[in-house]
């Protein structure tokens, strides 16, 4: 009884190719597969983008984004938009694997399973970056604010990494449940609160040109979060896809 639920312990030694080249080519293969599929269908990115623009539009009416309000709430609006669009993308990217049976195929391939995790996570991260790169200028134009601030870009990179690191792991669990579409945000948001605190605070601080001494605690929080959760997700992912 114990043996059948522990196939990993057995398969690990031969599948776990610690040879760096094989690992990276596996990661690259998974990323390319996702990008190529997206290039053909464009369904994830277009959904994320349209959704983001709609969220910003709704915020415009909900918050009366006049010049005075904007300076304080811009970071909040941006991060809520990214978070919502992010769950959409994460759910879609994992659900696709599940529905088309790609995940099973991937699992059969003689690659380290963490290579699959990193491949999926980096693919999701690329999608998120693309959405963010389009949302930022659109927001800048719509509200006549300059968002091209290197500090803000750094915060967006750090925040997205942490968000996607946890999100990829939780999304691969969520798609294997009965309630998959509604479950991901419920699982993901309480865990990613530190990211939103750090990212919103740091973004606002950069946009309002606060001294760096006030920004560092938030950046450190984001960096610590990214490191811890990337490492934990890497160690734990095996158990999520194990069948």
């Amino acid at each position: 009884m114990e043996d059948q639920s522990l196939p990993l312990a057995k398969t690990r030694p031969e599948t776990r190719v610690r040879n760096g080249a094989a690992f990276f080519s596996a990661v690259r293969a998974v990323i390319w597969k996702d990008l190529a599929a997206e290039l053909r269908s464009r369904e994830v990115l277009s959904a994320m983008l349209v959704f983001s623009l709609l969220v910003i539009l709704i915020f415009n009416f909900a918050l009366e984004l006049d010049a005075a309000t904007r300076s304080t709430v811009t970071a909040g609006v941006l991060w809520v938009t990214f978070a919502f669009a992010g769950t959409l993308g994460l759910n879609r990217s994992m659900a696709m694997e599940k529905d088309r049976g790609c995940l099973d195929g991937l699992l059969l391939a003689p690659v380290d399973r963490s290579a699959i995790y990193f491949g999926k996570a980096i693919g999701n991260l690329i999608f998120m970056f693309i959405v963010e790169l389009i949302v930022l200028p659109v927001y800048s134009i719509l509200y006549n604010t300059n968002l091209f601030n290197p500090g803000l870009l750094l915060v967006i990179v750090l925040g997205s990494i942490g968000y996607v690191a946890v999100g990829t792991l939780l999304a691969s669990m969520a798609v294997q449940t009965r309630t998959r579409d509604i479950l991901l945000p419920i699982l993901l948001f309480p865990i990613t609160i530190p990211i939103f605190v750090g990212a919103v605070k740091a973004s606002t601080a950069f946009l309002q040109a606060f001294p760096m001494a006030e920004i560092w605690p938030y950046l450190n929080l984001l960096i610590v979060y990214d490191v811890i959760f990337t490492a934990v997700a890497y160690m734990i992912f095996d158990f999520v896809v194990e069948e």
């Binding site: 114990e2 639920s5 522990l6 946890v166 792991l169 939780l170 669990m173 969520a174 294997q176 449940t177 009965r178 309630t179 998959r180 479950l183 419920i186 699982l187 948001f189 309480p190 865990i191 990613t192 609160i193 530190p194 605190v197 750090g198 605070k201 605690p217 938030y218 929080l221 610590v224 979060y225 811890i228 959760f229 934990v232 734990i236 158990f239 999520v240 194990e242």
Partner: protein
Amino acid sequence: METKPRLLTIIDTIAVILMIIATGMVFFYAPTEAVMGNAQKVFYFHVATAWVGMLSFIVAAIAGIAYLRSSDRKWDRLGLASVEIGIAFIFIATVTGSIWAKPIWNTWWTWDPRLTTVTIMELIYLAYMMLRSGIEDPDRRARFGAVYAIIGAISVPLTFFSARLYRTIHPVVIGSGDPSAQGTFDMTPRMLQTFMFSLVTFSVIFVSLLWHRVRLGKLAEKVEQLKLKVMA
């Protein structure tokens, strides 16, 4: 149903006796605080229930790690039991915190780090339950529960730290705190004794409840298996 172990009966008895003494200490032994009045008495059990909530989180995470390492279902029962008790006690801690906040800070709710963290813990627990209820296969349910318990436990200190980057008004009762924090009070020896006694009491109650809940889980599994057997 296996008979109730002797040790469990002993723990139950101790828990009940301790609870009676602790309640007595809170109402008759501990002095009334000069500034806050009797509302301060909520504090003893408020902190104790929050403590049980923390404890249950740690137990659930450890059980999660143990389950992933061993695939032994008993760890899953322990994890689930711990989370369920945590939900009840963190709920108490949140509500009593709110009740205490009203007379002291004149508001039902503040975004104080501890209050915020505890509330997010409750949300993580509820998410854990929803995750489990969406999975039929018991092995997968146990595995995903373990993974989520671990992830949740790791995020809690970070959540606390992030919430703390905001200014706090929570009274720092033990150790030197921000003197401007309203509601801070110095504990007299009697208060400290009552406080410590409450912590011990609730720890024993936690152990007793945990054991009962694990036994319940075992029974439920037995019924489930028998059902499958009879249906077949």
